[in-house]
């Protein structure tokens, strides 16, 4: 049931244990135990909520930053990645194959803050060779979900 359970809550982490148990035809206690095991094993890493901030009054600017770095002896990219991801304003860090090494996703309230992060914090990390910053203009789909699309049942009655 492990993978099936994961697929279910990946789409909707709010489904109650009682319903999960019924959908998987197992006991509630088994679902509780499995969820606990998945958390312990670090397979479930969190239960965040997908928010379309554009519809709120809060200003949020998201930047994708391509970072080229010199890998360090013994630690490869891990140590540099750590130095970057420890900043709370950094939302995601990925090691990427191709033209650059790290993809950093940064969320800030203004352009100024983003530029200050890039010039003062990111570029000054010694192994960082170069950065290229892209701003997100509009989010169409995030984490498998089309933003702002509401399901509507348009099926008509037919015999």
């Amino acid at each position: 049931m492990r993978e099936e359970l994961l697929r279910l809550i990946e789409k909707n982490s709010k489904i109650e244990v009682k319903e999960l148990a019924k959908m998987l035809s197992v006991n509630e206690i088994d679902v509780v135990n499995e969820l606990a095991a998945l958390e312990n094993e670090g397979i479930i890493c969190g239960y965040p909520t997908l928010i379309d901030w554009e519809k709120t009054n809060l200003e949020k600017i998201i930047a994708l930053i391509e970072v080229r770095v010199t890998p360090q002896r013994d630690q490869g990219f891990d140590r540099i990645a750590e130095r970057i991801y420890n900043y709370p304003e950094v939302k995601s860090v990925y090691l990427i194959s191709g033209g650059y090494d790290l993809l950093v996703i940064l969320e800030e309230k203004s352009l100024k803050e983003i530029s200050s992060f890039v010039s003062n914090k990111l570029s000054t990390i010694e192994p960082v060779i170069s950065t290229a910053t892209h701003f997100i203009l509009k989010k169409y789909k995030d984490n498998g979900t089309v933003m702002g699309k509401k399901f509507e049942d348009v099926r008509e009655v037919i015999s």
Partner: protein, 385 residues
């Protein structure tokens, strides 16, 4: 003016589902668990292929039998999934949904007065199609204690020297029942001995939740007397594309193609191009949808268990068929009162034949959120009975 209409057509009763849903349509904010079609959109890569064919100007008729590429893919699919072997050039006909194929099959086989055996409860179109083909429909009342499977004994009892065809529809709408290989073998024995045909409507074949679907055509000596009907509506969530097919020996398919050619010409071209893509690259989509249906199926069965409503475990299609006899009401009464009180629509079992009395058809082609609300309402409703 006084219209002088066909007596035969006039004699046909409108579908029982229709009647019920005309009532539903008058009410507001009804949670309906009545629809018999997938709630998924057609997978995007399949839609994209349909769009591409339009962009390329593929807007002409196809051959009467359907696109050759599609017929080849259908044969590959049947071979891959069920080890069935058909010749794409002479043993396949692409139709406007499985429904057209049912009509054609009956019209190609029936002479006036031939009897067609229809196990009930079943999909609403078999009986009217049989009547329109001048056959005499003979129904078998399938039993809940047999999990709504057809038994050899029931079949033998229904056969007369006029019997021409058995319509076999598993996985079944409305019960969700399936026939396993051992059940099919028993039926095949009788069919061969009594020398009759089978029209096997396997439109829900891919929606089988325990083990694998089997076709009666797989059994030795059955291919020549079986018309296998399948389509894209349920497996690939393509109901609106109106595309199905029939497979059988050339002697039969040839006659069906003749009727199809004069009545329909050919199935929609755009749909045929999309269907090629579905068959080539759609296996994963089926798995994804099947997993989701299965979760809802288990959810409903466990909910009934909790409420103490008996329901045999259906292993196919996307329907459950709970028994409401213990509430001492007819199916229609139950469905009407449930609609009035809780605004939830379910279909009375009697819409699918008299043997559906005492049962309800509940479709789980709905989001789990909707099913949850409906089950809460059902629990409240039965407390008042």
């Amino acid at each position: 003016m006084k219209h002088r209409l066909s007596e035969k057509t006039l004699s046909i009763k409108p579908s029982g589902i229709r009647k019920f849903f005309d009532l539903v349509a008058e009410k507001k904010d009804v949670i309906s668990l009545g629809v018999g079609e997938p709630d998924f959109d057609t997978p995007w890569h399949v839609r994209e292929e349909g769009i591409y064919s339009l962009e390329k100007g593929k807007t002409f008729y196809t051959s009467n039998s359907g696109l050759k590429d599609l017929r080849i893919e259908i044969c590959n699919y049947l071979d891959r999934r069920y080890n069935l072997h058909y010749d794409p050039l002479s043993e396949v006909l692409v139709t406007v949904g499985g429904s057209e194929a049912i009509d054609l099959a009956l019209r190609a086989l029936i002479n006036e007065g031939d009897e067609v055996i229809i196990p009930e409860p079943c999909y609403v179109s078999y009986k009217p199609c049989a009547i329109l083909a001048d056959a005499k429909p003979v129904t078998i009342d399938l039993k809940a204690e047999n999990d709504f499977r057809l038994t050899a004994k029931e079949l033998i009892d229904a056969i007369t020297d006029k019997t021409k065809v058995l319509i076999l529809a598993f996985p079944n709408n409305p019960t969700g029942a399936i026939m396993e290989m051992k059940d099919l073998e028993e039926i095949a024995k009788v069919v061969k001995e009594k020398d009759i045909y089978v029209i096997s409507d396997e439109i829900y074949a891919e929606l089988t939740y325990d083990g694998k679907h089997h076709s009666i055509a797989e059994i030795d000596g059955m291919k020549e007397r079986t018309i296998l009907i399948n389509g894209f509506s349920k497996a690939y969530a393509m109901t609106g594309w109106r595309l199905g097919y029939a497979c059988g020996v050339n002697e039969i398919i040839k006659q069906m193609t003749k009727i199809h050619q004069f009545a329909i010409m050919c199935a929609p071209t755009t749909s045929q191009y999309a269907a090629v893509e579905a068959l080539k690259n759609g296996d994963e989509d089926i798995e994804m949808m099947k997993e989701s249906y299965n979760q809802r199926r288990r959810f409903l069965l466990n909910s009934f268990k909790e409420m103490g409503i008996p329901c045999f475990e259906p292993f196919g299609a996307f329907y459950v068929f709970p028994c409401i006899k213990k509430f001492n009401m007819t199916s229609e009464d139950f469905a009407m009162k449930f609609l009035e009180k809780e605004n939830v629509a379910v279909v009375p079992g009697t819409a699918f034949g008299d043997s559906g009395e005492g049962f309800l058809r509940i479709s789980y082609a709905y989001s789990i959120e909707k099913l949850e609300i409906a089950m809460e309402k059902l629990a409240m409703f039965i407390k008042t009975l």
